[in-house]
């Protein structure tokens, strides 16, 4: 056979094999986690594992409820801060800013996206935690003594600190992707809207964002997934107090990734401990996958409506 054709077929096959290997890796990971958490799943019902907040490994109680609640709580706070911050910044950069401002700001944003999480964590400890402890917590807890502000945690290590650090970590990604998405909106759409007398903001709100909403949703999901699995930052500033279900943004939270990073490899003498921690990893894996799938499901529905 011709050598060129042989190479071609070889290239195709090896690329196919590699793609399959990469794709099957996620299935293998899920399978592996499931296998290793079998022991705890066999003893304790799934319901108790997911919803019980009783975590006493020595007594054989492995309720992940508090950790799952902690993860959701911190992520929700992070997204509540990050979404408006990122979208408005991206809109400014793509729709309003002068080209030179944009050319200057874009590399800085991309740089922020690439900084190691541990740096954000340290920054959280030295800057965000004192801010929350000395100013935000005393102010809000005293003036608004109700959900979600009432708390008796005066340390500053809390869900809000974690949320702020996470928000600043994921914002650069959301900004960067959203800005790219907005730039793919045809200029003619803006011209069409402006030429019936719409202002810039009306054009952005009614025409540009509408056209770009699929891509923006994707950008937000990307940020959400990252926030969900982020470990280092939450480990360092969330407080990580055991057996606490947060009732306030100022309560300590103990998200799943922090639990896994903190405890896996230690205290292995306790029976079922490692199985329970791997179960936590499986839950994290499943929830992240679910969020992604829900997100893409929304995208596909938008697309089939070809708006």
């Amino acid at each position: 056979m011709d050598v060129r054709k042989l190479r071609d077929s070889l290239a195709r096959r090896s690329m196919f094999t590699l793609s399959v290997a990469v794709l099957s890796l996620s299935f293998l990971m899920a399978l592996g986690l499931y296998q290793r958490s079998r022991p705890v799943l066999d003893r304790i019902s799934l319901r108790e594992l997911l919803f019980s907040t009783l975590w006493q490994p020595a007594q054989g109680h492995f309720g992940l409820g508090a950790f799952i609640a902690g993860t959701l709580w911190v992520t929700a706070i992070a997204m509540a801060i990050a979404i408006p911050l990122s979208l408005l910044t991206a809109i400014y950069l793509s729709e309003y800013a002068h080209r030179r401002t944009r050319d200057l700001a874009k590399p800085v944003v991309d740089l922020l996206a690439g900084i190691s999480p541990v740096v954000y964590g340290v920054w959280g400890v030295v800057a965000v935690v004192p801010l929350v402890r000395d100013h935000l917590m005393p102010f809000f807890s005293a003036r608004f003594p109700f959900f979600p502000f009432r708390s008796d945690n005066f340390t500053g290590y809390c869900a809000l600190s974690g949320g702020i650090v996470l928000a600043l970590m994921i914002s650069p990604i959301i900004i960067s992707v959203t800005d790219e998405v907005l730039r793919t909106v045809p200029q003619a759409i803006r011209e069409a809207s402006l030429s019936v007398g719409a202002t810039r903001w009306q054009t952005v709100k009614h025409a540009v964002l509408r056209k770009a909403r699929i891509g923006i949703t994707a950008a937000v999901i990307l940020g959400l997934s990252r926030a969900f699995g982020e470990t280092m930052a939450v480990l360092m500033v969330c407080g990580c107090a055991m057996r606490v279900t947060p009732h306030s943004v100022f309560d300590a939270a103990y998200p799943l990734p922090a639990l896994i990073a903190n405890t896996y490899g230690e205290m292995m003498s306790i029976p079922l401990y490692d199985a329970a921690v791997l179960m936590a990893a499986l839950v994290l894996f499943a929830v992240t996958t679910l969020f992604n799938m829900a997100g893409w499901g929304i995208l596909l529905r938008f697309e089939s409506g070809d708006m």
Binding site: P186, E191, S195, G305
Partner: protein
Amino acid sequence: MNVEYRMEEIQLEAFPHIQVQHLTVAYGGHVALDDISIDIPERCITAIIGPSGCGKTTLLKSFNRLIDLQDEVTVKGRILIDGEDIYDPRTDVSALRKKMGLLSQRPQVLPMSIYDNVAYGCRIHGIKSRRTLDKIVERELRSASLWEEVKDRLRSPAARLSIGQQQRLCLARGLAVEPEVILGDEPTSALDPLSAERIERKFLELKKDYAIVLVTHIIRQARRLADYVIFLYLGKLIEHGPADEVLNRPKHAKTRAYLSGHFIEDASP
């Protein structure tokens, strides 16, 4: 001299709606329009012709200040519309653009339903009443001869229409805000011949009520539609006058060369 005389005749019939005075537009260092002065008559179709890159679209988009969107653009000179300089810093740009309806090269429907596309401009300008909007949408769709085709699916996305229907929808959207001038930037260039003809017929109807400025690279289209013709070449105004004059008895060698399809470089001045 003959041309000058005829021009005055047209001006006597109609007050010049757009007056361009010593307009120079540059993008960065590149001069796109060089010292253009011209009056554009009311209730006429004015065609801007010339080879690609001659500044046709720039001239058109300077009328509704869409060139403001370009980076590093500088504008010198004045454009008077209804006697007011639109490049005055006090000008309300949105109000100006509402006056100048634009039909672009490729139909650009907004990402929403057919109904919402037509109602878009009215809603922007604060009309909320359902009944008023229904009336406007029906009137404009009928006037763009699109009503019969879409009346049963007003709620479906505008992107599902054919290209020809989309362009008529864009026309309806532009007319819904009751502009004074219609600007067309090669509005038939993306359309099939039949749809193009419908748009052309529509333009001939509309010129009873509007001043229409049409950028075109199709000389036959200019012959069919235009009352007045402007010929631009490399950002310079070479010749302008009544259509019959410019298209059939061009005075300038460059115009002659362009109209007969020769390379303009070859034409002796």
